[in-house]
């Protein structure tokens, strides 16, 4: 409480006076707490909750940058302008859909905020921990300064970086196949839900069906 008040006072004095490190922490705290509030909001139905949480994630993450970093320098150079645009669109849509689904797997987790670290000038890491019923997950947000304000460009869950994980898959895919195939595949994955996830929702007592449910196409491997 006192920390929040002093932070508020410092912010009132003008953003230049608040060290960027604290700004980074405040940024993550604000957005994560907002998201948690929405998740626990009983007045909204499930779809509305998901929508809100996805909106928050759009503000929290620089999604187009994540798309670019995930694809990686080697591949980005090989795409033309139209392909880059298309890739970014598909990546952003996929990430948002994936985030929205994760919302369904959460029940009453708590989040603990730890101390941010400046890894290099203008790059920050904000560690948090998600306390679920039987595990603690470490979620580490990586932030940079965009026009002077912090924004996240990656998140690591127990050491697993979203950018690197997608990157590894793109590397693997593009080793054998072409860019157009990748784009087609990403478009084909769609925003529907596998039946298993619907079952999980029923288990958690969430009765509303999710629209756009689609049968899973082709298994990996």
């Amino acid at each position: 409480m006192i920390a929040a008040l002093s932070l508020a006072a410092a912010l009132a004095a003008g953003p230049a006076e608040v060290p960027k490190l604290q700004q980074a922490r405040a940024f993550i705290e604000k957005h994560v707490n907002e998201a948690l509030e929405q998740l626990k909001n009983k007045k909204l139905d499930q779809n509305a909750r998901r929508k809100r949480v996805v909106e928050i994630s759009e503000r929290m993450f620089d999604l187009p940058l994540m798309a670019k970093l995930s694809l990686g320098r080697a591949h980005w150079g090989k795409l033309d302008e139209a392909q880059r645009k298309r890739f970014t669109e598909l990546f952003v849509a996929q990430l948002k859909a994936s985030y929205a689904e994760k919302v369904d797997l959460l029940t009453d987790e708590k989040v603990e905020f730890e101390e941010p670290v400046e890894k290099s000038p203008g790059k920050y890491e904000m560690p948090t921990a998600v306390v679920a019923k039987d595990k603690r997950y470490k979620m580490l947000y990586k932030l940079y300064l965009r026009d002077g304000s912090p924004v996240a460009y990656d998140v690591e869950i127990d050491g697993i970086s979203v950018v690197r994980s997608y990157g590894a898959q793109y590397d693997q895919f593009l080793a054998d196949k072409g860019v157009e195939e990748l784009l087609a595949r990403m478009a084909g994955q769609g925003l529907g839900e596998p039946a298993e996830l619907k079952d999980k929702q029923k288990e958690l007592g969430k009765k509303e069906p999710v629209p756009g449910a689609k049968k899973e196409t082709g298994k990996g491997g």
């Binding site: 603690r136 990157g167 590894a168 898959q169 990403m186 298994k219 990996g220 491997g221």
Partner: protein
């Protein structure tokens, strides 16, 4: 005999690969200003994907598919049935009890990595939770004393800490993704798990299987979610596992 020798050589050479020998692919050199972003964001030089050294890929992919079927056809339906019968708080308590039992494994590995503070923390938690926590079903050490569980240590991490490389990815039947080093580390891990000394082999096996089963019942939906997100679930899990283990070793 010949095969055992081959395996021995492969093991020895794979384990001698230092832990950080990730293979990075050099892309086309940046030309335009937009490539500055890549330079800016590539920190430790290993932002790019982890090694794609996967000599057992054919076997791994096959076993991945087998495990996938096992999960959907057997493990999951049974775990869900169990989940309907047994309320979640009870299953969570059971999970805690099993976790508590793995204290010797964690403790020994904390010592082997010379982490006395962590070892002390494990010991304290074990004593409190086994007694006041009714055989580990509850976690008063955390709730009442604030002694949070430090990260789990195991033999794979100990070896990693000592500089042993992870070798290459291996997918084990049912147990799933691991790598050469961690897979080998499972054996001493079994020897230190009290579950295997309770009674006869069948009982011990059942108790151990019960643990996995209980765990699955608490985490239904996660694998499906991963599969949905991933372009190629096999690659995703393989590389995510490596990232995760590399991080745990550093901690």
């Amino acid at each position: 005999m010949g095969r055992a020798l081959w395996l021995g050589i492969a093991l020895a050479s794979a384990l001698l690969v230092p832990a950080r020998a990730a293979e990075l692919e050099e892309g086309t050199p940046p030309a335009a200003a937009e490539f500055d972003e890549f330079a800016e964001f590539e920190t430790e030089g290993s932002t790019r994907a982890v090694t794609s050294f996967d000599p057992l890929r054919g076997y791994n992919r096959f076993m991945f598919r087998v495990n996938d079927k096992f999960y959907f056809w057997l493990a999951k339906p049974l775990a869900r049935g169990y989940g309907w019968l047994v309320p979640q708080p009870a299953r969570t308590a059971v999970n805690r009890a099993y976790t508590n039992l793995r204290f010797p494994l964690r403790f020994v590995n904390c010592l082997l990595q010379w982490k006395p503070k962590k070892a002390g923390s494990e010991l304290g938690r074990f004593l409190v939770n086994s007694t006041a926590g009714l055989g580990g079903l509850f976690d008063p050490a955390d709730r009442w004393l604030g002694w949070r569980a430090p990260g789990d240590e195991d033999f794979g991490q100990t070896m990693g800490r000592w500089g042993v490389g992870d070798g290459f990815p291996v997918v084990l039947p049912i147990l799933g993704q691991t790598n050469l080093r961690d897979g080998l580390g499972l054996t001493p891990g079994f020897l230190l798990n009290p579950v295997w000394y309770l009674a006869d082999f069948e009982t011990n096996f059942a108790v151990s299987a019960g643990e996995q089963f209980n765990y699955v019942s608490l985490h239904v939906g996660e694998y499906e979610s991963i599969k949905k997100d991933a372009l190629d679930p096999y690659t995703f899990i393989r590389d995510a596992y490596k990232q995760h283990r590399d991080k745990k070793i550093k901690d």
